[in-house]
């Protein structure tokens, strides 16, 4: 994890503040920082999204390719997560420097989405046991400003929302299978991401916990709980992380907060996405050009 060096006094300042529900940037404990979401930013992908959460910048591209389904789930499509920590974020990521962090994020996402109700992967099946759509969800971390997991999960959900999968028709004839792509560029399928989870990270700082910890707060935090939460408040994955320990009661408390915050996060995310889609093509595309 990208580290920020803090003195003891600074740490104490932050911890005490949080005890009084007052964070160094003025937020409350359950508030997120300002987040900007933009979809359809990379035209060579099936779906893409860019999320900027304070200084954290994440770009997600989804590519739909035809592939074989996994042997355990012959009638389901596949979802493959890949995270790349760009050296643009920090020189520490140069070469293979970011791989551990990348693996951590992609594993968490895989687990959060490994729940049959999150996403209807059955729709991605083309020919049972032979062909299905594989969605490669590639996450590119461009700048680190704390709370990477949450930001990544929001970006993934937005990119999946934006994903268009070409309609294919399958014709079978004497054992021969032909997959024919639709000729119409508008003839595409969208994924229903309503119940896709977002990751909410709760950082235990002092005796309280906060969501969306900034880098400074992360430096004060010894243990955190990451959970995948859907819009209904279902927890799809749970993971404790960090060197410190948590007692069961505070875990319960944190989960309650997590569910509450997660539901709100999912709700506002969907609202933003719908709004953006309504603007459709007319919206001014900006991407990195501000």
């Amino acid at each position: 994890m990208v580290d920020v060096l803090l003195s003891d006094a600074e740490k104490t300042f932050i911890i005490h503040g949080i005890q009084d529900n007052l964070r160094d940037d003025g937020r409350g404990c359950e508030d997120y920082r300002h987040m900007e979401i933009e979809t359809d930013v990379v035209s060579s992908t099936s779906g893409s999204a860019k999320v900027r959460l304070a200084n954290t910048e994440i770009l997600v591209g989804v590519k739909a390719e035809l592939g074989e389904p996994s042997s355990g789930k012959p009638d389901k499509g596949r979802l493959e997560f890949f995270v790349d920590c760009s050296a643009n974020a920090t020189p520490e990521f140069e070469g293979r420097g970011g791989e551990d962090l990348a693996l951590e994020i992609s594993n968490m996402l895989t687990r959060a989405y490994d729940c049959p109700k999150c996403l209807d992967l059955g729709k991605l099946c083309v020919i049972k046991g032979q062909q299905c759509w594989v969605l490669y969800v590639d996450i590119l971390l461009l700048e680190c400003g704390g709370n990477l997991f949450d930001a990544a999960s929001v970006a993934v959900k937005a990119a999946l929302y934006n994903t268009c999968i070409p309609t294919v028709t399958v014709s079978q004839d004497e054992g021969h299978v032909d997959i024919e792509l639709s000729d119409d560029p508008f003839d595409v399928q969208h994924l229903d991401v309503t119940s896709a989870p977002c990751i909410v990270t709760l950082s235990k700082i002092g005796h309280s916990h906060v969501v969306d910890a900034s880098q400074k707060e992360e430096a004060c935090c010894l243990a955190r709980l990451m959970m995948g939460v859907t819009e209904k408040g279902t927890v799809t994955a749970l993971k404790k992380e960090g060197s410190g320990s948590l007692d069961p009661s505070s875990v319960e408390e944190m989960m309650e907060t997590g569910k509450r915050v997660g539901q709100a996060l999912n709700k506002s995310l969907m609202e933003v996405l719908c709004l953006e889609e309504q603007k459709g093509k007319k919206k001014e595309k900006t991407g990195f050009l501000r």
């Binding site: 893409s48 760009s86 050296a87 974020a89 140069e94 590119l140 792509l181 560029p185 093509k281 050009l289």
Partner: protein, 267 residues
Amino acid sequence: MFSCYIVTFCSPRIRKTSSMAGMELLSDQGFRIDGRKPKELRRIQCRLGVFNQADGSAYIEQGNTKVLAAVYGPHETAGGRGKALHDRVLVNCQYSMATFSTGERKRRPRGDRKSKEMTMHLQQTFNAAIMTSLYPRSQIDIYVEVLQSDGGNYCASVNAATLALIDAGIPMKDYVCACSASFVKDCPMVDINFLEESSGGPELIVATLPKSSQIVFLEMNSRLHEDNLSKVLDVAVKGTKDVYQVLDNAVRDHISEVSAFHKLDQS
């Protein structure tokens, strides 16, 4: 140059018969497949200072090729004293491509031969342009990330890195501007896109210091007769000068914007 507006257009083709075979790179009417004339550049859009944490950063779009560059340094050499150079700064580069940047998904963002070669090329190019002797025993990192690739990756990378270096305030002899060119039907074509690159014709890539017209990098792929080389090179060098104009304007705009902001701050 002609004016630019944006529209989006979709037309799926599926059958193999309508593939690239039989495409005319240059029509009888003198247009390229994308509607440009042979000596026209693609649209260039750029921005400096995209990131807050890096010492310098920039983003550039040349047509559909989109590149982000970040610069860190000068700072202490990373890999211990051993790597430091006693008389000049160590220019450290990394070229990497997003896995979704190409038509077919890439399996690795970097570490393959092509990326390693690109990294080396960038290193050579910027060693020639940065005033390296000003920072002995230290290091400058230039990181380039290709977000979308549609030909001219090297050129866009160099141009983006130049802007990022300027953003970082690192002294250079001049801008470094890069441009590619090809030769089709006895006609040199500037700034070739992916389709033109992959047609098998010659590809010449050049990076220059535009003010002095010095060539700092030159590469040539496929076959081209030497009689035609100077024509193609001329077109490519002219291209770098056009690129320079665009970059220079962007830098000036950025500076005036930032200084206006500072004045506001002070008052």
